[in-house]
Each structure stands twice: as C-alpha cells, then as structure tokens.
Symmetry: C2
Subunit: 340 residues, 2 copies
DNA sequence: ACCTCCAGTGTAAGCGCTTACATTTGAATC
DNA sequence: GATTCAAATGTAAGCGCTTACACTGGAGGT
C-alpha cells in the first residue's frame, strides 16, 4: 500500500535504502561506481516506491537531457513521417528521446516551438529545410544548441544539412520529361515563401527548361499549400487555361495525387490525355492508379543519418557534417513517352 | 553585443531592469499584478537579453507545465495524424503544448514513453485505446496524472474515453455487407493482442455474422500489422484458399488499400471479382481506385473533444467525461451489391 | 607498524524559478 | 499633517536533483 498523496523523491529512496541521495543518484546514472550490494538495495527501494526521477530537477542539476527535438511542418501527410520514424528509431537505440512538434508551415509557430523545445532542455534540434530568420540561428547559437537541417543539402550554407539537392533532383526529373518529348509543361508548386525545398524544386524545373531552349517565363505555375484537395483545384485551373500542357509537374506527391483526382473529375485519363509527375516517392505514389512518376528520396536513410549526425554534434564528436543523399528518378505509369 | 557564453537567467533580467526576480517572474506569469511602467522596463530587459525561461526550473518551482503528452502507436500512417492535429490545435488555442511520442505498437515502449512524459511534467496524457497493463494506470493514478483514452468508447471501463464504439461500428458495416448479399466473408485484421480497437472490430464482425445466421467460426481471418504491404500479402493468402470469399473486410483502410493492391497484382478487379472494405475513412480511402467503402470516423472532432475533455480533467480536477462519437458507414465503389 | 592510495560513500552547494510572506509606497481619509 | 490600507515590490525558502569535494576504511607497499 503506497502513499497515494505524494510522489517519491530521491530522498525517500535514499532513506528507504539507508544511503545518501548521492549514492542513489549514482546508482541511476553510473551504476558501476556503486558496489553491487549497495546497488541492489537501492534498486529494490526504487522498485518498491515506484520512483521515477523528476526530469525538471535533473535537467537543472545536470546539463544533458538526452532529448532531441524535431519540428516538422506538418504531421498530416506522410512526407516526413517515414524519415522521422527512422530518426526516432536511431535516437532510441542510442538512448535519446525524441520530442516532436509541428509548425503547420508557419514560421511564427516554428519559432515558438523552437523556444519551447529549447526551454525543455533539448540537447539538439532537427529542423526541416534551412530557410528561416537569422535570429533563430543566432538564438540557438547563443545557447550552443546544435541544429541540423534536414530534407535539404546546402553545403554552401555553412550549416550542417542532411538531405538531397532538391533543385538538381527536380531538374533531373524535368530533363526526363523533356526527353520524353514534352514541351508544354505546367507546374503545381508548394508555397515557395519560407519553404526552400519548394523554391529549389521550382528553380530546378526552370533550369531544365532553360537548358533545353524552352522559356521558363512562359511556364504556367500555380502555388498552393501541400494538400490533396489543392492539387485537384490547381490542376483544373491549369487545364482550363488556353494552350493546355501535356504534363503537369507537381512539387510533391500529395499535390500529384490531387492532380490525379482533378483529372479523374474532369474525365481526363492519365497519362493518355495528360501526364502527371510528383516528388518524394511516398507510399501514396505507388498506391494510386496510375502509379505516379516521381523522384525517389531515401527517407529512412535520411532520418537515420540525421540522427547519427545530430548526436555526434551534441556529443561534440563533430562540428556537424553536411551529408548528401542521392535521389533517383522513379519512372512509373503517370508519365507518357511522347516520342514513341 | 551579448555574451555568447552564458544563457540569461531571471536574475540577469532582474538586474538589468533594476527590480527583483519576483517582479520579473510576475511580469511573465501574471502581468496584471505589476504596474505598467515597471512591466515595460522588465519586458524591455527580457527582449534585450533574449531571455527564455528555463522550463525545468519552472516546472520544479511551480506545479503546472501546461504540457500535454500524447502517445500514439505509429506516426507512419495517417490513422492518427488528423485527429492528433486537431488535438494539438485545440490545445494550442488553450495555451497548452503538445508533446508526441510513438510506441511502434509496443507496450514496453509505450510504458517507457509514458514515464518519460510524466517525468517531463506532462499535466495530462492522451493514450490510444484502453488495453494496457493495470500497473500503468496505477502509476498514473499515484501521481494524479489525468489520462484520457481516445479512439475508443468504453463507458464500462470506469475511465474517461473519447471515441466511438469500434465493435458496433464494424458490426454496422458488416450488416450492410451482408444485406448486399455477401455470405462468404474473409477478414484481414490488425494484430488484436494489445490492441483493443482491432479486437473490438473483429468482434463486431463476428456479432454481425452470428446475428444473421452465419457461423463466425468458419470465417477466415488473417491478423497482420497495419501496413499496406501486409494487406496485399494477406489478401493473396485469403484469395488462394479454397472457397474464395466474395468480400474481404479489413480492419482499417491501410490494410484495405493493401488488399486492393493485392487484387490488382492478382489481376482481379474490384468490386467485380471481389469486394473490399476498410475502416477509418482516412484520405487514402478516397484516393485509390475504386474508392473504398469504409466506416467514417470523425477524427478531427475526436481530437478536438479529447483536448477539451483532457484540459477539463487537468484544470477542474473533474473525473473526466466519457464521450461517444458517432461513426457512419461510408458506401463507396469497392463494395458490390450482389442483390442487384 | 606506518604510510599511501583509492574505491565507496556522504555532505552540501547550487541549478533557475515561483510564491508565501514581509516590506515599502503613496493615495485617500480624517 | 497624521493615519490607514491596499497595491506594488522585495526577500528568501524551497522544488528534486547532480556533483565537487570531503571523508572513511582497508589493501598493498615499505
């Protein structure tokens, strides 16, 4: 029958085991420094009282929290889920805990979340992308909190990043599309403001056009938040314009799936009437009919490597590497080869 | 030029503003108790120093953290995403922060996460389902941490739950299936052990069969983790048995989408050759072709109500309501009406 | 027998904050 | 001008933990 009114503290355990608080603390944090017999006694008391260390107190007294914070733009679609899961798994095997918050793609909320996680003692932070107010990085630097930007590869930024080159990747896909004989390309992009991934992908698209003697300026572009519904709407907008495109390239798979639905709603068949491409290669891309041509991104590997790199930074084993992952064009049914 | 080597504390702010630490604290926590002029001076100092309260210290000194913890089985698929997003939004408008952890459907990890969140001072906890070791509830009770179980409605459990009746919901869907003339029903269920939602859904299925003079014992069932790939495999297993079912009912939409893919791979068309049903009505169900007949669950509403109920428990020390939400059968193309 | 040394343990000083209680201030009242 | 009293602010005691440092006793060296 334990006391229901109060939570046991280190003191209680110490008293119950007949040792000092220091010994109890050592049993918990560096067991090898306590002789077996004592340790057993202490552990028994811990067990008997159902003691759990108070995290706040621990953070205050020590410095480390073995907590990593991650802030992702959204939990609602699967873009970040897989990578984050891998990130979490790797952290877990290394004894760290992951705290996740989502910013709903809003810089203000993201800053709030950053402060919140830092205040909670996060040893390090994983952020998505790199495009944010410099004051954020200053703030983090002043507190010497290591930050790693993922989902992007920006060696020139001077900050550690783990990811792939969004611009090059999209350019490669666009090159493939052009090689297939497409000249009239329309684009459904994510909101580029405050989202360097979306911006880079759009830039890559323009690169490809320019490199092939096409005028990027004439390319129709709709920017819209990453949501299926928006993809459908944007698609219809683009297809209703004069001079219909032969292919609609989307900033990510979610938009592409939306475009696909837009096509279905308009009674257009893909890829016979119009081709559609995506980006990310989330599960969705292989589930829909037709399956979507997209850029495959090694999400799990990115998550794992991000975890390793960030822990290295936290534990001072490195200043933070910049790691590039390779993406690959994933050809599937939604893209038609017009040359055949 | 600020000192990069040390993080400003309440003391620093107090000194900079020429007041005591108590006044600074009051400015931050109950501004109305400080006269305007002083408050301005303090806030200016806070701004100038870039001060952020140390969360650990705050937790220790006060009791409240305005943090709610949630542990979900997985982040990898969308089942919980929407509800959780709504949960988070509602918390945010009420001044609470959400900390999310995932348990990978493993009770051991879930317990670990619970302890971790409690140690971090979570004022309340949201858990998915209700089926877990009693010691967990004891632990939480001993610390008077309110817990709310969501995604289930269990008035008889004596614990607050916010959700729908999984058993009844599935039974209703099965009734519809039977009314459409299906007699040979096969099932792809989630792992029922340690997952009361999956178990209840399966039970609801059996209820419906029994109520219609069908023998639940002869119903083929495959249990498999909630993943698309598994759905495909399970589907093929079921369809290769003798006495093919006319309908494969799945424990959730993810499995149903997998089954759909399984059918495609086998060259079967849905619903002509075989019908498929899901559960949850996540976005996925409407994206695939054919769209999946499923049970619609008001995820966002559930999330919102869960937030409100949990905060009530935290603030009012009330015992917590049990709230039932209504699910509805959502007929779509993947289910064939054999009577016509 | 004496000294060293060290593994094992205890003592106690904070970590940065909130808040009960004490003190000061100044406007209002007599 | 003296008195009263509420509002504004200050003082200081913890919250539960880690860890530098102090202490103890026994093994090993001389």
């Amino acid at each position: 029958m334990s006391d229901l009114r109060t939570v046991p503290t280190l003191d209680d355990v110490a008293r119950a085991a007949g040792v000092s608080t220091a010994t109890v603390s050592r049993c918990l944090n560096s067991p090898e420094r306590v002789v077996e017999q004592t340790r057993k006694r202490v552990m028994a008391a811990v067990e008997a009282l159902g003691y759990t260390p108070n995290f706040g107190a621990r953070v205050m007294a020590a410095k480390r929290t073995f907590t990593i914070g991650a802030i992702i733009p959204t939990m609602e679609n699967a873009i970040f889920a897989r990578g984050l899961q891998a990130f979490q798994e790797e952290l877990h095997t290394r004894g760290y805990t992951l705290l996740v918050a989502s910013s709903a793609y809003q810089p203000k909320i993201e800053e709030e979340q950053i402060r919140s996680l830092v205040a909670r003692g996060a040893d390090g932070l994983l952020l998505i992308g790199h495009d944010r107010d410099p004051s954020v990085y200053q703030y983090l630097k002043a507190r010497s909190i290591p930050v790693l930007s993922a989902w992007v590869y920006l060696p020139e930024s001077g900050q550690p990043t783990v990811g792939f080159d969004n611009r090059q990747s999209m350019r490669a896909l666009a090159q493939q599309v052009i090689d297939f004989g497409h000249q009239k390309i329309a684009v459904i992009s994510g909101i580029t403001k405050g989202n360097d991934r979306a911006a880079a992908r759009l830039a890559g698209l323009r690169d490809a056009l320019a490199a092939n003697g096409l005028d990027p300026k004439t390319m129709p572009v709709v920017e819209t938040p990453y949501e299926i519904e928006n993809g459908a709407v944007a698609f219809q907008t683009l297809m209703c314009a004069e001079n219909r495109p032969t292919v609609v390239m989307c900033g990510n798979d979610v938009l592409a799936v939306g475009a696909l639905r837009g096509a279905r709603d308009m009674g257009l068949s893909v890829p016979e009437d119009v081709s559609i491409t995506g980006f990310d290669d989330i599960e969705l891309a292989r589930i829909v009919t037709p399956q979507i041509t997209t850029v495959h991104v090694p999400h799990r590997e990115m998550g794992r490597k991000a975890a390793i790199a960030l822990i290295d930074m936290v534990e001072k084993r490195g200043t933070g590497d910049t790691i590039e992952l390779k993406s690959t064009v994933q050809l599937r049914d939604s893209l038609r080869d017009l040359t055949r």
